[in-house]
């Protein structure tokens, strides 16, 4: 199997990777770049734990071949904080108890960020639609929606 070369920008930093083509973006992020905040849950695009933002859209990184990410700009959960300060979404998730076991949280926050980037003032219904592909098995959706709304409000007041 011929290795491929992939160039992409992750959290503002350029990377050039030479790797086997039968790997997912998720595995390269976790294993090569050591960005282990992005989780693998189901591995088939059902759970959303592997969400990253790629060229402005939320994607399941388990369903992106590494070659398909060539030339793209990617934001992972590690790219959200600024100057050591958590992102308003991260703060809101903590303050509103929107985290239980925490495994779904990076994906939830990434999908929420992708929503707020496009729609800074969503309705509850729109938040739920945006998170349709993210599963929390601790059953905390209400608090998650509250946290997203609180973060939206905070960002809009800034």
């Amino acid at each position: 199997m011929k290795p491929i070369q992939v160039n992409f920008m992750v959290n503002g930093k350029n990377h050039q990777i030479v790797t086997a083509p039968n790997r997912t973006l998720l595995s390269v992020l976790r294993e090569d770049l050591k960005l282990t905040g992005t989780k693998e849950g189901c591995g088939v695009g059902e759970c959303g734990a592997c969400a990253v933002i790629m060229n402005g859209e939320p994607v399941n990184s388990c369903l992106v071949l590494v070659g398909q990410a060539d030339g793209s700009t990617i934001t992972t959960i590690e790219g959200l904080s600024k100057n050591g300060q958590p992102h308003p979404l991260q703060k809101a998730f903590v303050e509103h108890g929107a985290v239980q076991c925490g495994f779904c949280t990076p994906g939830m926050i990434i999908a929420s960020k992708a929503l707020l980037d496009k729609n800074p003032d969503p309705s509850d219904e729109q938040v739920r639609e945006a998170l349709a592909g993210n599963i929390c098995r601790c059953a905390g959706y209400t608090k998650i929606v509250e946290a997203v709304q609180a973060a939206a409000e905070e960002s809009n007041h800034e």
């Binding site: 039968n22 997912t24 939320p58 388990c62 071949l65 349709a132 592909g133």
Partner: protein
């Protein structure tokens, strides 16, 4: 994941060149293929990734036609003012496809080429009477969508051929369209059944044109021409819809699976079909009143 050779054409000529050597499997968004590759359900010797072929990503209109490039994502569909104007029924279906993450990757060409009986873009495209333009290294051909898809996961695409775009004539403004999908929840749901309809009324408020398509209730998404013809000249009322449902049921051959039984699919499809016919007729009426 098994090993494969990865080919990533950057433009159409290069893609056609890769298609001319045998054994390649085309991948676009990968929302369906990658789980199959990862589980071992699908074996490929080489993958031809069209996700960087920007020439296949477009939504265009001319005086008569609307064209959607095969590599257009569902997210692109939802943001298109052209489709919002000429194919709101496609947007209606697209909003209910999986999740924002799947919609950012999944493509219209992929949904058609994958040929799932439950592919949600198909019933809307069938009531728009869409056709697919296929290209191969030596030329191109055009097929109506209902001819292109011939069975579960089966199409008439030759091994060296891909869908370039789908196109449909701009429907008359007086034609109302509607779509309904049934599943256990709104998001992340493989359809148990879907229905799409288009209705046009004449000055005397009787039906002058009808299009009906169903999904997930036969080996392929279905266009129900017998039911369509039955509607012509009748009033847009419940008894008329019942006739259409009765005729459409004869076209259906639903299966029992983990999602629903045959019996449930039949009953549910009848309900969905009545609803889409009524709301398509309501829209047609409203456009006539304007």
């Amino acid at each position: 994941m098994e090993e494969f050779e990865y080919l990533s054409p950057v433009n159409l000529p290069q893609l056609l060149q890769f298609l001319s050597s045998p054994g390649g499997r085309v991948i676009a968004g990968g929302t369906d293929l990658i789980p199959k590759l990862r589980s071992g359900a699908l074996h490929v010797s080489s993958l031809i990734d069209i996700s960087h072929v920007e020439e296949l990503r477009f939504i265009r209109e001319d005086a008569e036609w609307v064209r959607i490039g095969a590599r257009t994502t569902y997210a692109d569909v939802l943001e298109s003012p052209i489709l919002a104007r000429y194919a709101p029924v496609l947007l209606q279906a697209t909003r209910l496809v999986a999740s924002p993450m799947a919609r950012a990757r999944g493509t219209i060409g992929g949904n058609i080429g994958n040929a799932s009986p439950a592919g949600d873009s198909m019933p809307p495209l069938l009531v728009l009477e869409a056709e697919a333009t296929l290209i191969n290294p030596t030329g191109q051909r055009v097929l109506p969508l209902e001819e292109l898809v011939i069975g579960p996961m089966k199409t008439l695409l030759a091994p060296d051929e891909i869908i370039h775009h789908v196109s449909f004539r701009k429907p008359p403004a007086s034609r109302g369209f509607s779509f309904e999908k049934l599943g256990p929840r709104q998001g992340m749901t493989i359809s148990i059944a879907t229905a799409a309809a288009a209705i046009e009324l004449n000055a005397s408020q009787t039906i002058s044109a009808a299009r009906i398509a169903l999904g997930a209730v036969a080996p392929t998404p279905l266009r129900c021409k017998t039911a369509e013809e039955l509607l012509l000249g009748r009033e847009p009322v419940e008894e008329t819809w019942k006739l259409a449902v009765e005729a459409a049921l004869k076209n259906m051959s639903p299966i029992d699976d983990v999602r629903a039984s045959q019996e449930y699919r039949r009953k549910a499809t009848g309900v969905l079909l009545e609803r889409v016919l009524q709301s398509a007729a309501d829209l047609a009426k409203r456009s006539a009143d304007q």
